[in-house]
Amino acid sequence: MTCKQLKEQFDDYVDGNLDKADAARLGQHVACCEACQGLIDREQHLKDALRDYGDSSVPTPDATFYDQALARAAHVGNQQQQKHWWLKGFGSAVAAGVALWIIGGMLPGSPEISDPGSTIPAISMVLEEPRTINLVFSSAKALEDATLTVSLPQGVELAGFQGQREITWITSLSAGRNVLPLKLIASSPQGGEILATLQHENDDKTFRLRVTVI
């Protein structure tokens, strides 16, 4: 082995990445070559210094930092997931003639309920048990930048929006069916009416859904 060969394989040698045979041959050369031994020593000093640096240079986070960061991630993450759900499927726009179909998502055999305006549909919820209701807006044509506001009765909450009775989104609707899943939780037996108001330019339409809590 020569000095040139050591220089070519220097990093792999000091990092211990050579196979045993090559490492042994280079080791024999280093033992007999003062210049190469000097290079190895210098490199070892640098590695020691970097290791020293590594042990001491990262500040310690505050005692509660990890707990707070995890909790905040869960809180923000839940809110973002809800918003993502809600805006999914809303792609284009509607003018007049928006109809609302409501599908009870969680209970098997739930009838599909439509509300052309003459009757108020109703659903049942079990106290403290989450239930997803899919509001399906059927639109004749696409609508850009519509405002959708959901108003909740006392004691009914939207998952991820604790304490909020009214939630509003700016969204767009596609021609055809647009699904808005709402994950609801009833925290009191009171029940009431959920209002879903769709506003676009100067028009608006409100849909009502009666909630009974059992």
Binding site: D11, R42, E43, H45, L46, K47, A49, L50, R51, D52, Y53, G54, S56, S57, V58, P59, T60, P61, F65, Y66, A69, L70, A71, R72, A73, A74, V76, G77, N78, Q80, Q81, E128, E129, P130, A159, G160, I185
Partner: protein
């Protein structure tokens, strides 16, 4: 009755806890400052929460988590064109390496060590981000090349080349001011 969100938050805590130290260290290595590291750390935790379905499927998620953090850092830097600098003043702030060095009963040796580390930080700050990252991850944090490749997406040959240049540059700078020799 425990809500779905509470169960999800508990599962997230359980999955993430073993990896938080490593992620925090990576955040600090990438940003160089405690407050920025904590912001990066928090942003990435929020992002990972939204990808919990991916996380639960990975047998050894440590390197995957580092990759999410690295990519977020790079994207963020591209958006804001931030240049990370390590100033001499920041190296002397509480919590940074100089004051945090454990000492023994040899104050002169401790002072020499502290000075060497200050010089090392100054030298590190002159490297390009790519060179500094691979040097910090490999030589300081002990990542293997295969792990760094998974984190950064760069080929191992490229990483080795950057490390070689980074070490050469550090040696040159440190020899110029007499540090270590």
């Amino acid at each position: 009755m425990v809500s779905t969100e509470h169960k999800q938050a508990s599962a997230f805590d359980r999955l993430m806890r073993p990896h938080l130290d490593r992620l925090y260290r990576l955040a600090f290595r990438l940003t160089g400052a405690k407050s920025e590291a904590e912001d990066l750390f928090q942003d990435v935790l929020v992002k990972i929460y939204g990808r919990m379905d991916d996380l639960v499927d990975i047998r050894e998620p440590g390197t995957w988590l580092c990759r999410v953090m690295y990519n977020h850092f790079i994207d963020d830097r591209r958006r804001f064109a931030r240049q990370r600098l390590v100033s001499v003043d920041s190296a002397l702030l509480p919590g940074n390496s100089v004051e945090a060095l454990p000492g023994d009963l040899d104050p002169e040796r401790d002072a020499r060590r502290a000075d060497n580390i200050t010089q090392l930080e100054k030298a590190l700050s002159t490297l390009s981000d790519d060179q500094r990252h691979v040097l910090l991850l490999h030589d300081v944090e002990g990542y293997k090349f295969s792990e760094i490749q998974e984190v950064t997406g760069d080929p191992i040959g490229t990483l080795k080349s950057r490390l070689h240049r980074a070490r050469a540059r550090l040696r040159e700078l440190l020899e110029q001011n007499g540090t270590f020799f």
